[in-house]
């Protein structure tokens, strides 16, 4: 582990644990939804996009049908834009109609719930899904809004001030999860 002067970094999940957690999320999505072709995966920029693609691969194998994947940017819908520098805007690419479909929002880490709230607003601008579900690789607790995930790979207890960093290769085939702790606590 490389420790910066201000942080101490712990390995939270190695590659095997990450792959197991992703398979677990895919399993839960498959349990929660019939293989109807109704399910669309939408990854939240940027951390949820690779994960959504990897989950789609696993679900396609299980369901033997195409699972479509979109990308959703939530920066314009954040609730803290008057308190921070403007976040970089990434692409929203959802090349299908979400109305009357089941949309599974996918993100790597769930914390305060504010990103998920913004994602629900951003999604509403694009159509009216019949149902929206939330799939998360790592739930680190510390919720600030009444939002809970439907599908979770791993629950980790963390403290405020810590950071959970998910690193995935571009094909989603390898990854790890790190916990950065501020030094001196």
């Amino acid at each position: 582990m490389t420790d910066s002067p201000a942080h101490k970094t712990d390995l939270l999940m190695d590659d095997a644990a990450v792959q197991a957690a992703i398979r677990e999320v895919a399993r839960q999505i498959a349990v929660g939804n019939p293989p109807s072709g109704e399910v669309l995966l939408v990854g939240i920029q940027t951390g949820g996009v690779l994960l959504a693609r990897r989950l789609a691969e696993l679900l396609q194998r299980q369901w033997r049908m195409t699972v479509r994947v979109g990308e959703l940017d939530i920066s314009m819908h954040r609730d803290d834009l008057d308190q921070r520098p403007a976040p970089e805007v990434h692409a929203t690419v959802i090349p299908f109609d979400i109305t009357e479909r089941t949309v599974v929002l996918v993100d790597d880490v769930l914390n305060s719930g504010r990103t998920a709230r913004a994602a629900l607003d951003a999604l509403t601008d694009l159509g009216r899904p019949r149902r929206v579900q939330l799939a998360i690789l790592v739930d680190r607790g510390l919720r600030e809004l009444p939002i809970q995930p439907d599908f979770v790979g791993k629950v980790v207890k963390t403290q405020p001030g810590e950071r959970v960093v998910v690193q995935m290769s571009s094909d989603g085939a390898a990854g790890k999860v790190l916990l950065e702790k501020p030094v001196g606590r």
Partner: protein, 313 residues
């Protein structure tokens, strides 16, 4: 790149990275404009004042629509209907607007530097919508955005700016943005309207139209500004058209994929023949669409420049 400027005053002082950040952000705001619901919430609850001391319709409407699509409230303020006519100073007018809790002042003024002055005396965000012959930064940005969208890059592009350049803030903002991003800029027009001093900005200057456009990737036509007493600058509009007007015949001698641009309003039959203005090379109406996206991006970025730390996860 983390945006840190409170105001958008000119392109001369922006870095290539800052210009690119605005263009990249504008790309995503353009996509918003293509949706059924064209409105997003980042400026919810904010007040934008269009302070247009010099008249303008298209730029004001574009800024107004940009602010509305970002969910801001917009007040339009024109010199004719204001206390500026009663002798109030610009500073007092602007301070009054700030006292009403205006968050953004978008200013068009005949005096170069007026937006910079306001930015120094106000806490509100200031956007330059054209100051005298100095700069029109959002026009420069939308022109460069349009070029990049069509050509995929700016570095190495050959761009010719044609016509009434002497007093043109559009030309100056184009030149700054294009040169910072690595384009080669040629200026062409009657020598009275394109003085050789522009060579000091690094531009090629010529009065020979065929020479200026032969290998151009983009030809940006500037409007002949009748209202600025142009009759002393060249003999007649007819002569201007015969020497510098873009006709179908002249278009045939240009690159097959040349882009024809114009900031509007067009003088049909003067700078450009109607068939060319409406033809396949023309992106004049796309420029209008892109102007909206660029202005949304600029307002979004400067709105966020308050410091503070981004929240994690």
């Amino acid at each position: 790149m983390r945006w840190s400027r409170k105001d958008l005053l000119d392109l001369q002082s922006l870095s290539p990275e800052e210009i690119t950040a605005i263009l990249d952000t504008a790309r995503e705001f353009k996509a918003v404009g293509g949706r059924a619901i064209k409105k997003v919430p980042p400026l919810r609850g904010r007040t934008v004042v269009n302070l247009f001391v010099e008249p303008s319709t298209r730029t004001r409407i574009s800024f107004e629509l940009a602010a509305v699509r970002l969910s801001a409230d917009v007040i339009n303020f024109t010199a004719e209907a204001s206390s500026l006519k009663k002798g109030e100073t610009l500073k007092d007018t602007a301070k009054n607007l700030q006292a009403l809790r205006a968050d953004f002042i978008i200013i068009r003024h005949s005096a170069a530097g007026a937006p910079h002055f306001l930015a120094r005396v106000l806490d509100a965000h200031v956007v330059n919508a054209g100051d005298g012959a100095h700069e029109h930064p959002t026009q420069g940005l939308l022109d460069v955005f349009t070029m990049r969208e069509h050509k995929g890059r700016i570095a190495g592009l050959k761009v010719t700016i044609l016509g009434d350049i002497l007093y043109s803030r559009v030309a100056r903002s184009n030149i700054w943005a294009l040169q910072k991003l690595g384009a080669e800029v040629t200026l062409c027009g009657p020598p009275t309207l394109v003085p050789p001093i522009f060579r000091e900005m690094g531009c090629r200057v010529t009065a020979n139209l065929d020479d200026a456009v032969a290998d151009a990737d983009v030809v940006n036509l500037l409007r002949i500004q009748h209202e600025r007493q142009r009759q002393t600058m060249f003999p007649s509009l007819g002569e201007y058209t015969s020497l510098f007007g873009i006709t179908r015949d002249r278009l045939k001698k240009m690159k097959p994929d040349v882009l024809i641009m114009h900031p509007g309003p067009i003088n049909r039959g003067v700078e450009v023949e109607s068939d060319v203005a409406d033809g396949v090379h023309s992106v004049i109406l796309e420029q209008v669409t892109n102007g909206l996206a660029v202005r949304m991006a600029a307002l979004y970025l400067i709105n966020g420049a308050h410091g503070g730390t981004p929240e994690e996860n």
